[in-house]
Amino acid sequence: MVDKQTALDWYRQMVLIRHFEEKCAEGYAYAKIGGFLHLYIGQEAVAVGAINALNEDDDIVTHYRDHGHAIARGLDTNSLMAELYGKETGCSKGRGGSMHLADPSKHFWGGYALVGAHLPMAVGMAMRHQYVGSQQVSMAIFGDGSTNNGGFHESLNMAAVFKLPVIFLIENNLYSMGLAIHRDSAIEDLHKRAVGYGIHGEAVDGMDPLAMYEATQRAAERCRRGEGPVLLEAKTYRFRGHSMADPEYYRTKEEVDFWRQRDPISNWKQKLIDEGIATEAELAAIDESAEREATESARFADESPDPALSTLCDHLYATPVENGDLCRQQQAEKPDYVR
């Protein structure tokens, strides 16, 4: 078991994610948040266990279901919610939205929305670590469905050939949108795909932050020892639909209830109480403070300004172009209108 402070901090992170997600659902219902919104509820232990096992300068790239990872990595919830609200104060200045949270200063290189496509980036980051001789590792986080995409295969093979320090972390929540895993993955124990790359693969209880923490630590150690990439499979479940638009026709209430019994938050809470690590009151205080933080983030986001229209063309190129950057010219030609 970890020490009390750590145990409580994990609890705090998990409930903060939960409350944050619930605020997001609210913000979406009030049309403060647009586009696609994928909640992390149910999977909190995966992010919290895995990410806390990394060093601060280990690199993370993740998928569109990225709020939990950003919070576990310590990104400021105000800047996250503001991003979801599309505000200038958002971590990506309102340009990215829910699926594209990032903060490179925290080695959190962003959420990506094309399935399987960010895995090669983690390979490239590990290439950099190997290149400069650093002990950092990189971690790519993605879903079970993503393991059927070509990008998964090319990334694992390449990382293994170069013996790169990459942790490939599958969040196996048993569904890829509406498809149950056996309907799109030829095998269900996805960590066994490690065999095809001669690397270590391992299944982990994704509802238990401690199991996640320990497995990730071991994986990171392997990486740091120069033994090449590791494939971790967290067995988990999402309690909500794929995105807000999902009517969830494809699974039964019984199945969802079964998994809700395994709620990572209530189970962790029970464990801390049972093992005498924390009192109900201590945990309730943490919970309350997390809820306040989530609520505050929504207020902050709501009151934050939209990006000015005059900034539309900012950030297009890092090295500015002299001729032919048509954006501003095109913007100048826009008619005046209110939406």
């Binding site: 990215g96 799109d184 539309l312 063309c313 048509l326």
Partner: protein
């Protein structure tokens, strides 16, 4: 005549073709029990069974490649790519394979397949909001259609399914719920025929997909000021039927091309270049392009709204070419 939505028109086309020809089947991500992410194939698996309504893994390369192989050997697959943007993962399959096989093997094989996919945007961010049709319109061997009305959607989808070449059929998420008249009798709209959507004499607006609808709205508003727009809806981007455009210009001598994609190297560039080559002497003013601002789509809704072109942009452009 019944009035139905664009979505319903697509559903009718698919269903009728599946009933007509048992070799027609659909494959794609979450098209069966989920009904497709825009609901186009909802209920189909219940009617046609899993054999003909195939949910696939998230494997765009394999989806298109499998459709190609099935088409070569006698089936008529309709592959759904969940969002136009995901098609980039299957680009090699489409450009180097589906589109090349007939020619490259000297006509020995045919690839009668359709790829249906929705373009569109609305706070979906940069990687889920692109209008990528110019990338495909460039490719010989491929046919590319992009209908704007329920009537065209149904007639062109049926034509696409019966066509013996690979057809990229691009829908638009923002117009699935728009409505229009669709006859009960069967009809087919040939691929590669533009249509005069609205006759007029003062200026020609060339457009397609959602922007064709915006053009109609713009024309109505301009009509109030006495400006009479003729609207040509291209419907097919490859082959491109310039006939009605060139005819129209003879009369109006002024042209606006309206599209949703980025301006540079967009469809409007080709239209403008063709008018340059084949209608130069008919022009009283240079062809003007209305198009998207050249940036990745920003998530914020105000920035996004400004980045895309709308009715107001067309109105402004029409006024300018008439100056």
């Amino acid at each position: 005549m019944p009035v139905i939505t664009y979505r319903e028109a697509l559903r009718q086309a698919l269903r009728e073709e599946m009933l007509r020809d048992e070799n027609v089947f659909i494959l794609g991500e979450d098209i069966a029990y989920y009904g497709g992410s825009y609901g186009v194939t909802k209920g189909f698996v219940e009617e046609f069974g899993e054999k003909r309504i195939k949910d696939t893994p998230i494997s765009e390369t394999a989806i298109i490649g499998a459709a190609t192989g099935a088409a070569m050997t006698g089936l008529r697959p309709v592959a759904e790519i969940m969002s136009f943007n995901f098609i980039l993962q299957a680009m090699d399959q489409i450009v180097n394979h589906s589109a090349k096989i007939h020619y490259m093997f000297g006509g020995q094989m045919q690839v009668p397949m359709v790829i249906r996919t929705p373009a569109g945007w609305s706070q979906l961010s940069a990687t889920h909001s692109q209008t990528l049709e110019p990338l495909f319109a460039y490719i010989p061997g491929l046919k590319v259609v992009m209908p704007s009305t329920p009537y065209d959607a149904k007639g062109l989808l049926k034509a696409a399914i019966r066509d013996n070449d690979p057809v990229l059929f691009i829908e638009h998420a923002l117009i699935y719920a728009t409505k229009g008249e669709v006859p009960e009798e069967e009809y087919i709209i040939p691929i590669g025929k533009s249509v005069v959507r609205r006759p007029g004499k003062d200026v020609t607006i060339v457009s397609f997909s959602r922007m064709a609808l915006e053009s109609v709205a713009a024309a109505e508003e301009l009509a109030k000021e006495g400006i009479d727009c003729e609207i040509i809806d291209l419907r097919s981007l490859r082959p491109l039927d310039m006939g009605p455009v060139l005819e129209s210009i003879k009369k109006t001598n002024r042209v606006v091309v309206a599209e949703e994609g980025w301006k540079s190297h967009g469809i409007g560039a080709e239209i403008s270049a063709r008018i340059m080559e084949e209608g130069f002497d008919d022009l009283d003013a240079p062809v003007k392009r209305v198009a998207g601002i050249e940036i990745p789509d920003p998530y914020n809704k105000h920035l996004e709204y400004q980045a895309f072109p709308h009715k107001a942009d067309i109105i402004k452009a029409v006024r300018e070419v008439l100056k």
